[in-house]
Structure formats: C-alpha cells, structure tokens
Symmetry: C2
Subunit: 143 residues, 2 copies
C-alpha cells in the first residue's frame, strides 16, 4: 500500500512535424522562440542552468536543465512551489526528437504527478496540447 | 525617496461589449464560464470566499473575494507567492461594469505591481489582452 502512494503519473504528448530535428531543437532551446509557444523564460541549453518559465498572469515555474543532447534530447525540471500539497509540483519534462522519413517525431513527457494531484495532471494534459499547437504555428511561421 | 519605493503600478484594460451587464456579470462570476476565458477555479460570488485560479501548467493563484455588487462591481485579490520578490505578487483585480446605450463598458484594473516587478507588470498587460479576447469569444458564443 505504501508503494501505491508514492507512484507518480506522467503526461505524454507526441506529434510528428514535417521539419528536420535541427529546426525543432531551435524552437525548444532559443529563448525568443520558447517564449512564442511556451512561456517567457531565461533558458540556456546548459546542464545545471537554473531558469524560470513565467506565465503572463504573474505565475512562475522554477526549472533546472538536466539533459542537453543537441537535436536529440532535452530535459529539465518543472517545479511549482505551493504550500498546498495539491499544487506543489516537482516534475521533469523530457523532449525526445527522432528523425523520420519526412520530418521529426517529437515526444514530450512530463513526469512526477502524484495521485492526489488530479487537477495539475488534467491541467498539464490540456496545457501541453495547447503548447504543441502553438509550437506547430511557430515552426510553420519561421524559417 | 522612501515614498517612491512603495508606489505601485496598475494595469487597466477596458472594452465595450454589445451585451447587457447581466450577461457580462455571469461570465465574471460563474465558475464554468470563468474557466472558459480565464482559468480553472473554485470561485463563488461571496465576499470573503477564498479560491484559486489554476493555470494549465501547474501554477496557481491565491484569491479572496473583496467586493460583490451584482452587475456593477467585482473585486478579488490575485496573489502569487514566491520566494523571489520579483515574482511574489500581491494584487487586487477589480471589474467595473457600466451600462451604455448599446451594451456594457467593462473596465478591469489590476493594482499592486511594485516598480521592481517589471516582468510581472508587462506580463499582466499582455495577459489581460488575451483574457479579454477570450471573454469576448465566450460572450459571443453563449446565450
């Protein structure tokens, strides 16, 4: 029973884009592009770099870069501190890029939702769908 | 000089909608409608009620209802706690509805941004433009 209480859930969103991995990678790692589809940020593709993602309504996420394998894997923590345990989130976002015959398969996994964080989990599922839709717009628009 | 450091700034967004105040009021006070243009929430139009606004990415705002004058004025705190002072926001959102010949003039004021909170202030200006655009969609779509 203790085991169950410590299991966490994750959100996965996958999509294939008709662009090479290099182009997707730029959108995932250049701050001005990240801002267009995700949030304002002071990201740097450097392991150990601490940064924030900032929502327009005053909210902010605390993040740290964990893995940087150019054009292949990008991973960072995605933490939100709140005194209410239901909202206090410690999670890890991992992007995996795989070249396909016609473009790139992008997989995003956000891991670390506790069973009692149903709202945060549901929100992340909806949120990443929106983020991916905006990412597609950015990719289509930029050279 | 001390006076300057305690002055705060506010964001104002105003728009006229071709709908009566009662309809705007519903969109501002019914949780399922608030969710459509602002954020998920457990709002109640009751002075003293504490509620949260929850972003899809796991973030959350702490709020408390301050003023409820049906079809006229709604005000609540809009607070975000963070250990970094640049992000720690204590603000008050006030909606004022004024009937016009052809509809309703809606004014939103968010007050409480300190001078060192340039990012939060700029974010709120952009954010409220987006929220109002979504509010307009919701109003146009619903009966």
């Amino acid at each position: 029973m203790n085991k169950t209480s410590t299991e966490t859930r994750f959100v996965v969103v996958e999509r294939e884009f008709p662009f090479p991995p290099e182009k997707i990678w730029r959108a995932l790692t250049q701050p001005h592009l990240i801002e267009e589809w995700l949030m304002k940020n002071d990201f740097k593709p450097v392991v150990g770099h601490s940064f924030n993602l900032r929502g327009d309504w005053g909210g902010v996420l605390d993040c740290e870069v964990l893995v940087v394998e150019p054009t292949k894997t990008l991973s960072y923590t995605w933490n939100f501190r709140h005194e209410d345990a239901a909202y206090n989130l410690t999670s890890v976002v991992t992007f995996t890029l795989t070249p396909t015959r016609t473009g790139t398969h992008l997989r995003m996994q956000q891991a670390g939702f506790r069973p009692d964080q149903k709202q945060a989990y549901g929100g992340a599922r909806a949120g990443w769908q929106q983020f991916f839709a905006k990412l597609e717009e950015v990719l289509t628009r930029t050279d």
